[in-house]
Amino acid sequence: MGKRIEVTDLNVYYGDFRAVEDVSITIEAKSVTAFIGPSGCGKSTFLRTLNRMHEVIPGARVEGEVLLDGENLYGPGVDPVRVRRHIGMVFQRPNPFPTMSIKENVLAGINLNNRRMPGSEKDDLAEQALKGANLWEEVKNRLNKPGASLSGGQQQRLCIARAIAMEPEVLLMDEPASALDPISTLAIEDLMNELKQQYTIVIVTHNMQQAARVSDVTAFFNIAGAGAPGRLIESGPTEKIFSAPDVKATEDYISGRFG
């Protein structure tokens, strides 16, 4: 599993407004790549273009190429629904389905797509996914309780379990820990370290320490000013970006001089 993503000259527009300009970046397989940058710099928008989730926003469109192991996500005849089955996503706020139990939430990807699967296989899959998300021990005795009965941190891990139950190749995370307390954040960060053995992980974060702790590669996005499109300023190994970045703006941002 775990595939490599190559992005070439990607532009994202909301109607006439260019939100992201000329981004080219390679995201290595089975690694954690972190996007950092000030608010409104287009990193979340860019993240969404990696599994075509930006199409949910009216008026959003993309120019450029995103290759998943050589296959263009924006090629003719590509079905966004299929893309999203290979590239999963976890959102900023935990969003378990309120009508479903914990187990049904984990299996939502299977059930909602009307995929047939024997009950015992479903049980195994739910257990595997929950173990993968470090949630199994906490919920194994109450799998039929509603997903909304869990704490915020547990709900977010439930959402991660739901995403990995689909066995995606890439997992996109849009500020997955920003709504959580430090202990739950630590649990999610530990989890990312384990998940990268199998999956390619891309994370957007406002927390510089988090980027430094969990990522192998860091990409810094910035905007020139209000109304200007976001750009990728530089990307490279996290150690290098945090110790000796090539661009002054990156250093200023990381050292807290702006943003």
């Binding site: 290979h86 969003n95 389905f97 309120p98 689909m166």
Partner: protein
């Protein structure tokens, strides 16, 4: 801390407070005074007494609160008194209607009423079985027509329309439909059926069509509001799992909103089940039991009540008793529907907490 508490004069935080007995006492006094004035000048008119008592009470509370408690508390008591007054005023008609229907309808609320039709009945006896079954048939069919159309329209408006021109036009016409007088809906249904099958004396299905015209806009508006209340995060969560849009709508969005949608449908049913005019025109009226929606007139409860009251036989009281019993049955059906709606809503409500 200490300097502040020392600098404050004792009693700066306390204010006068009316003893608890004052308000009931004032109310009793105002009631007596109102009754007395009414006896003197209005010949003991109870409505006049109540209105006078209320005004006297308002003034008395205002004055005593202002003297003892200050302007802010007086304003609070004034607002409380007026809101409670408005509430009681709004409840009076409901209580009155319920009482009238219960007391006058109880006389014929018996087994015969629910097991006999009016076929060959000219005097005592007889019942509304034909009207009860007719109401259930016609309203049931109307629901069957309205819910799919209304729900699908709501889904289009909230999930697909995204404020495009068609959606705006639909919203506009749905609003117009809400204001269609019910007799017009009845005439429309009758005319439509006449165009299709030629002259007729009305039949159940035509009544259902008329009620649908009234019901669809209610279902559309309530369902649309509820679908919009479903958080976008849930749609995104489903899309991110590779779930197609139609499955997201049918398996995530609608189930999340279903309890509210069911309540909305029940309210819409309750709204049309008492319609008289369109059914009189479209479904006609008859004294016989008819369980065929597509042929011959079908009696309904509102028409039964109207007919018993407007065209009584020789013994008028017998017909009036039947009319009241019919009204009571109608109220009972609507209350039962509301009860079922609440139970269903609770059953389907999104699960939260333990």
């Amino acid at each position: 801390m200490t300097t502040i508490s020392q600098s404050m004069a004792p009693g700066q935080l306390t204010a006068g407070r009316l003893p608890k007995v004052v308000v009931p006492a004032l109310l009793a006094g105002a009631a007596l005074l109102g009754l007395a004035i009414s006896l003197l000048v209005g010949g003991g008119n109870l409505a006049l007494a109540a209105a006078l008592a209320y005004i006297i009470f308002l003034i008395a509370v205002e004055v005593s609160a202002r003297i003892v408690e200050g302007a802010r508390q007086a304003a609070d008591r004034r607002a409380t008194s007026m809101i409670v007054g408005a509430f009681v005023l709004a409840l009076l008609p409901l209580g009155s209607v319920t009482w009238e229907a219960l007391s006058k309808g109880a006389a014929r609320f018996d087994l015969t009423f629910f097991t006999y039709s009016m076929r060959n009945v000219v005097g005592e006896g007889g019942g509304a079985l034909h009207a009860i079954t007719g109401t259930l048939w016609v309203t049931g069919m109307a629901t069957l027509i309205s819910v799919p159309i209304g729900l699908m329209t709501a889904v289009y408006l909230s999930e697909y329309g995204a404020k495009n021109r068609l959606a705006k036009a639909i919203t506009f016409f749905v609003d117009v439909m809400t204001g269609v007088p019910s007799i017009v809906a009845g005439l429309f249904a009758y005319a439509l059926m006449t165009l299709i099958i030629g002259p007729n004396t009305g039949f159940g299905f035509a009544g259902s069509v008329a009620l649908s015209v009234l019901m669809i806009p209610v279902v559309v508006r309530s369902s649309e509001e509820l679908l919009r209340l479903v958080p976008n995060e849930l749609r995104e969560a489903a899309y991110a799992l590779g779930v197609p849009k139609w499955l997201t709508i049918t398996r995530v969005v609608i189930p999340t909103a279903i309890s509210g949608i069911v309540s909305g449908v029940i309210l819409a049913v309750a709204r049309v089940i008492g319609e008289t005019a369109p059914l009189l025109v479209a479904a006609g009226f008859t004294a016989s039991l008819n369980n065929n929606l597509f042929a011959n007139p079908m009696m309904t409860l509102p028409v039964f009540v109207y007919d018993s009251y407007a065209h009584p036989g020789v013994d008028v009281q017998v017909y009036l008793d039947r009319a009241w019993a019919g009204a009571l049955t109608l109220i009972a059906i609507v209350m039962l529907l509301n009860l079922i709606g609440r139970l269903v809503a609770r059953r389907f409500a999104p699960k939260t907490g333990n």
